[in-house]
């Protein structure tokens, strides 16, 4: 103790500026666990299948200024997305923000991603002062608009994409704001699910608020505030260290959507990636001007795509926060498909995000060939089918997503029949589909030969057939990569995956002419057949291990 006095005083001084590493680790782990706990509450008590089955939601904790410090990373598409909404709330409501409030927002030109993603955000007050925020964003199946399921690739304006909400007060001082609940309830096709899920989102926020308050009680508000700051610093530092450890270089890559969503020409996504020292610049300004259809990407989603690609190419296991964006610069002028001006429609922005993620990863594979990864499919077949329950006759919308093959890489083959890159949506089980909707699924199989060849081979695409039963049914679907030029690319000498294909057969078996996107009314007995792309191959096919080739034959992979 005698010799310890001086060092203890030095220690105390050090801790006043930068808390000790143990406290930091304890508190930051608790904050990450809190975001996950919020997610569990939301997932297990929600009604929208997109939330509970497809994990299309996020939960996060923010600093008082809106920077995101911890996020439960269920779905890459929403990485870091909510912080722009929180900043919008601060700007709009300022001094009026009070304890017990909860804000609702979905406006793509006020920080949100597309109208079906409803953000519910709560301030956390400590000792009467605004300390931080907790929030959830979740994809609701329908927020009104022209089409069941709200999304429509050909919609030309944001005003056709359902209810638009800049941040408004869903709760005031802990009580529901009945005006907002009434407006939302009247505008959407399934008010019971939507309003229940909003309450579930707020219940998740309450859990988050309680945990942050407990942590502040335990460590002190000042210490917790500096934990928030240091969590941002730590992620920034880790990303910079990763980048510094990689060779410098620059590369560009381009990719295309099949069209512009409204029957127009292919839409170009262009990336110029440059790494110098511990910084990365993603220049997206070579991408197409904003388009007529709903393929435009609001800024929050463009940012999320870049954050995703950085994480996937550096350390996939490390959680991220807004600290990433201090090490990465994104440039893209207004008026482009990746940074549109209002009122461009955005509801099918996810297809463009997938294309952007793939293009970023291909550019990164050029700069760092030993990390090269062949392309996964970005066909992303999505479908909203108006239907009825075969048991009760109640109207509903069947929302379906079909994945395909992922790209091969230096360590092995790609995966078969899965969703790729920025989402991880499961395939609806036949026994769920046919007991919930008036539809019969005639087959679901992996397509032999759809993969890119190589030393390691891509994963297989999926063939699935849906037969409409009962009555005339409205359907909207959209996909990409039906154009063979845009099929998944191989890497380092590996072959390309197959293009995707959509076929629609009338009740008489005759083929109806459709492109990669359509909104139709189908008579009972009609069949929609989707064949998705396989993943790209990696390396020279001649180099394939004979044992793997033999296993391919036993698995009849073609």
């Amino acid at each position: 103790m005698r010799t310890g006095t001086g060092s203890a005083r030095r220690g105390a001084r050090r801790r006043a500026q930068a808390i000790d590493p143990i406290t930091f680790e304890l508190a930051s782990a608790a904050l990450r666990a809190t975001a996950v706990e919020m997610g569990e509450v939301l997932k297990h008590s929600s009604y929208s299948p997109i939330i509970r089955e497809m994990d299309d939601f996020s939960c996060a904790i923010f600093r008082a200024d809106g920077d995101l410090v911890a996020q439960a990373d269920f779905i890459p598409a929403q990485l870091g997305a909510m912080s722009l909404v929180v900043k919008e709330i601060i700007e709009r409501w300022g001094a009026g923000i009070a304890p017990g409030d909860a804000y609702l927002a979905n406006h793509p030109y006020h920080g949100a991603m597309h109208t079906p993603d409803l953000n519910v955000i709560m301030p956390v007050f400590l000792g009467g002062r605004l300390f931080g925020w907790v929030g959830t964003a979740a994809h609701h199946i329908d927020v009104g608009g022209v089409r069941p399921g709200t999304e429509g690739p050909d919609l030309g304006e944001i005003y056709a994409e359902g209810l638009l909400l800049p941040p408004v007060r869903l709760y005031r001082g802990g009580a529901e704001n009945p005006d907002v609940f009434a407006i939302v309830g009247a505008a959407v096709r399934d008010p019971v699910s939507t309003l229940s899920d909003l309450r579930a989102q707020r219940a998740a926020c309450l859990v988050g608020e309680r945990r942050v308050t407990e942590l502040a009680g335990r460590h002190g508000a000042r210490v917790l505030a500096s934990v928030f700051d240091q969590m941002l610093d730590a992620v920034e530092r880790a990303v910079r260290l990763d980048l510094a450890g990689l060779p410098d270089g620059a590369a560009e890559a381009e990719g295309f959507l099949d069209d512009d969503g409204a029957g127009g020409p292919p839409t170009r996504v262009h990336v110029r990636l440059a790494k110098h020292g511990d910084r990365l610049v993603a220049d997206l300004s070579g991408s197409a001007p904003q388009v007529r259809g709903a393929m435009n990407v609001p800024w929050a989603s463009t940012r999320a795509s870049v954050v995703y690609a950085v994480r996937a190419m550096t350390d996939p296991a490390r959680s991220t926060n807004d600290g990433v964006l201090r090490a990465v610069e994104i440039t893209c002028p207004r008026g482009t498909v990746l940074n549109p001006d209002p009122p461009a429609a955005v509801s099918v922005r996810h297809n463009t995000c997938q294309r952007l993620a793939d293009t970023l990863i291909r550019a990164a594979s050029e700069i760092w060939p030993d990390r090269a990864i062949a392309s996964s499919t970005v066909a992303f077949f999505g479908m909203n089918l108006a239907s009825r329950s075969p048991r009760t006759g109640a109207m509903s919308v069947m929302a379906e997503v079909v994945g395909g093959g992922t790209g091969a890489h230096a360590a092995g083959d790609g995966l078969d029949g899965v969703d790729t890159y920025m989402a991880n949506v499961g395939l609806m089980p036949v026994e769920v589909a046919e007991s919930s909707y008036s539809v019969r699924i005639l087959r679901t199989e992996l397509i032999a030969g759809s993969q890119g060849d190589g030393t390691f081979r891509g994963g297989l695409g999926i063939r699935r057939e849906y037969q409409v039963l009962g009555e005339d049914s409205a359907v909207t679907f959209y996909s990409e990569q039906t154009d063979p030029r845009f099929a998944p690319r191989g890497a380092r000498g590996g072959g390309d995956g197959s293009p995707s294909k959509i076929t629609v057969l009338g009740p008489d078996g005759r083929e109806l002419p459709v492109g990669s996107k359509a909104s139709l009314v189908l008579a009972p007995g009609s069949v929609i057949r989707i064949e998705t792309s396989g993943g790209g191959g990696y390396g020279d096919p001649a180099g394939r291990d004979p044992a793997l080739a033999e296993a391919d034959r036993e698995d009849e992979r073609g």
Partner: protein
């Protein structure tokens, strides 16, 4: 059914772990004998036989063993290493690839280089069959006898070791599966055939197919193993009344274990949980948390009402199994968890582990990475100069040398780093305990913690303080607790059926009659297993959700008749409100799956075996969450300080969170008799575990050798 012999009779539990095979024998007159031998992964039966021989050397005559309970990893290991039998699979035409695309999502969301999951059945070994039911169970395409024979012929040509059949919507009507099963039995006599509706009558084709295929692939493996055990036991002169632990926390007569092989996958961890429930019941405690911490991981289970809760499904190596399994939360935090500082300067503990070999640096087996055990050695909570099980002694210099680089990277002294590592590990343990309690709306202050495994008692006092449990119990042999837990289990059989219908008055009668029929079926099986009627009890539940939701909550159905079914909706709303903080009073409730479990209490009389057995879940009034006052250990009128002989030294210890080192007395647990109370701070040493008592806490030893830790009031 139990032959009456003169003299002492024994009940034996044998638990096969990754490193050691533990055996414990309890006699009808209260004697307990233990054995610990190295496991033999090539044939686990070798170690089991050796353990029985060691017991025999200590006076447990094989002929006097009345029953053997066995926790086995045979099924788990076969699945993890791919050494299952070759299975052919029959599916509805158009759907042979259900095992290929699985759920349609990626196991790891962000990893672009994750490995392709192993296929359970080669694509060439999957045969499609012309037949189809609709989503309402109506026949769309009938299965003809000719088509069944054609499919059986095609499967026979593949020469499989076993066959699984999973047809769409067979959970609604299994007639097609049975027709195909008969055709296969005719064509392939002697080859096991598993029908999906017979092993898991639940909806969603991928998990049901996976379950049927895993069952088929394990049947020959488990069958061979049990056959081998049977002849070993006969050769030893032990009567082969053998019971196998299941994932659900109950056991199964060995004769029926092979056909239920998919239910044995969590056999090992379930034993400790069953032991916790039995230990609690013997003290009248029904709100319990089990904490099993070994070298590589920590298993936590919350037991809310005396009976371990089960989850309806589990996953192994990425494949789902629809078999009720004790609801354990596992985290990668054990004594061997490695502490390191990453490049950005963050201190991390686990999930990487030094395992059994090389193990912590302090073990002196060549490990040089800092582990949680090494942190305890440096902190002094694990004194270095005392003997441990397996003739091990701890090398304090090696532990300190391993910790130095970590401490340097953090700018701390070794003692401070050790303290940080322990506190981080305790935070991970606390997070796991919160996940099973606070996050499910349950207040741990009403619960008793039971801490076991080699590293559990080391942290029991810390967790008691952190979460405020009523008390923390450290069993007499913490390192052998899973084996002793085995001897206290009931036979358990589960049945289930997917209903998927709104909870309307018309449904109530249908559900009540399913419960009645299933109850008769299960009770009849238990009577065939030799359980008298009076020792059989049934527990019914229903998985419910609001119409439109996708996740269910399990709701107990008591009483099992129409009245219990009628109360379901109200009970579900109450549970939903408690778990998630909201419940819509107007939204209709639907029943997804009905479940019934039958428990048969084995009429054995071992010392560690509680007589009455726990009451059926839900039948007794729950004690609720209110924190009851402290508990009194039984068997001693007053507690006295330990005698001087029990105190074997003093250690220089930096207690977790304390700023400095202090001298702490060390006691020998063997010499702490019944009625002893040890005031903290103290370290209580025994061969298989060390218990740390914090300042302000005390440890009291009851007349059965269980140690009760509590805060002094």
């Amino acid at each position: 059914m139990v032959s009456e012999r003169a003299g002492r009779r024994w009940v034996v539990g044998v638990d096969v772990g990754g490193t050691f095979t533990d055996a414990i024998a309890a006699s009808s007159d209260g004697r307990v004998v233990v054995a610990k031998v190295p496991s033999t992964p090539q044939d686990p039966g070798d170690a089991l036989e050796r353990a029985l021989r060691e017991l025999s050397g200590q006076g447990v005559s094989p002929g006097a063993i009345q029953m053997i309970f066995h926790g086995t990893t045979v099924a788990t290991n076969a699945l993890l290493t791919g050494r299952t039998a070759r299975v052919a699979l029959a599916t509805t035409r158009g759907f042979r690839d259900v095992l290929g695309y699985r759920t349609g999502s990626r196991p790891l969301v962000y990893d672009l280089t994750q490995p392709r999951p192993r296929q359970l059945v080669r694509r060439a070994d999957r045969v499609e069959v012309d037949e189809r039911l609709s989503g309402l169970g109506e026949v769309v395409t009938p299965l003809t006898r000719a088509e069944a024979d054609r499919a059986a012929e095609a499967i026979a040509a593949l020469r499989p070791d076993a066959v699984a059949v999973c047809l769409l919507f067979s959970y609604l009507d299994d007639a097609h599966e049975r027709i195909l099963g008969e055709a296969l039995a005719r064509r392939l006599p002697g080859i096991p055939v598993t029908l999906s509706a017979s092993v898991a009558r639940e909806f969603r084709e991928y998990p049901r197919t996976s379950t049927a295929v895993i069952n088929a692939g394990l049947r020959p493996v488990v069958g061979r193993y049990l056959l081998g055990l049977g002849s070993r036991l006969r050769a030893l002169g032990a009567p082969s009344r053998l019971h196998i632990m299941q994932s659900n926390g109950g056991c199964l007569p060995a004769e029926r274990a092979a056909e239920q092989a998919h239910r044995l996958v969590l056999s090992g961890p379930a034993a400790g949980v069953a032991g916790t429930a039995a230990l609690g019941a013997s003290y009248g405690l029904r709100q319990l948390v089990s904490l099993d911490m070994g070298g590589t991981s920590l298993d936590v289970c919350l037991i809310p009402d005396g009976v371990p809760p089960v989850a309806p499904r589990q996953e192994i190596d990425g494949s789902p199994i629809l078999a009720p399994s004790v609801d354990i939360v596992t985290v990668g935090a054990g004594g061997g968890s490695i502490a390191r500082v990453d490049r950005s300067g963050r201190l991390l503990v686990g999930p990487e582990s030094a395992g059994a070999r090389p193990g912590p640096a302090a073990y002196g087996h060549g490990g040089d990475q800092a582990t949680l055990t090494d942190a305890h050695v440096v902190a002094g909570t694990l004194p270095a100069d005392l003997p441990l099980a397996g003739a091990l002694t701890l090398d304090a210099d090696a532990a300190r040398a391993a910790l130095e680089p970590v401490a340097r990277s953090l700018g701390l002294e070794a003692g401070e780093a050790a303290d940080g590592i322990i506190r981080l590990a305790v935070a991970q343990m606390t997070a796991a305990l919160r996940r099973v309690s606070v996050q499910r709306g349950i207040d741990p202050r009403g619960y008793a913690l039971v801490a076991f495994g080699g590293a559990g008692p080391l942290h029991a006092g810390l967790l008691l303080r952190e979460l405020g449990f009523r008390t923390a119990l450290v069993p007499r042999f913490p390192g052998l607790f899973a084996a002793s837990g085995l001897t206290s289990t009931d036979i358990r059989i589960d049945d289930s059926r997917t209903v998927l219908a709104p909870l309307a008055p018309g449904l109530a009668g249908e559900l009540a009659s399913w419960y009645a029929a299933a109850g008769r079926r299960l009770a009849a099986q238990l009577r065939r297993d030799g359980i008298p009627r009076g020792r059989i009890r049934l527990a019914a539940s229903a998985d419910c959700r609001f119409a439109g939701q996708g996740y269910e909550l399990s709701v107990p159905v008591t009483p099992r008749g129409p009245a219990g079914v009628a109360a379901l909706a109200a009970r579900f709303r109450e549970l939903h409100l408690r778990a998630y903080g909201h419940a819509d009073p107007d939204q209709p409730v639907e029943v997804v799956t009905v479940r019934l479990s039958a428990f048969g209490a084995l009429p054995v009389a071992g010392a560690d075996r509680p007589a009455g057995d726990a009451a059926p879940p839900g039948d007794a009034a729950s004690a609720g969450d209110a924190a009851p006052p402290g508990l009194e250990p039984p068997g001693a009128a007053g507690f006295t300080r330990p005698g001087a002989a029990a105190r074997i030294g003093r250690a220089a210890v930096r207690l977790p969170g304390a700023p400095a080192v202090r001298a702490v007395p060390v006691y020998d647990r063997e010499r702490l008799g019944a009625g002893t109370a040890v005031r903290g701070p103290a370290i209580i040493h025994q061969l298989d575990a060390t218990t740390v008592v914090l300042p302000g806490q005390r440890a009291r030893v009851d007349d059965r050798g269980t140690m009760w830790l509590e805060e002094r009031r």
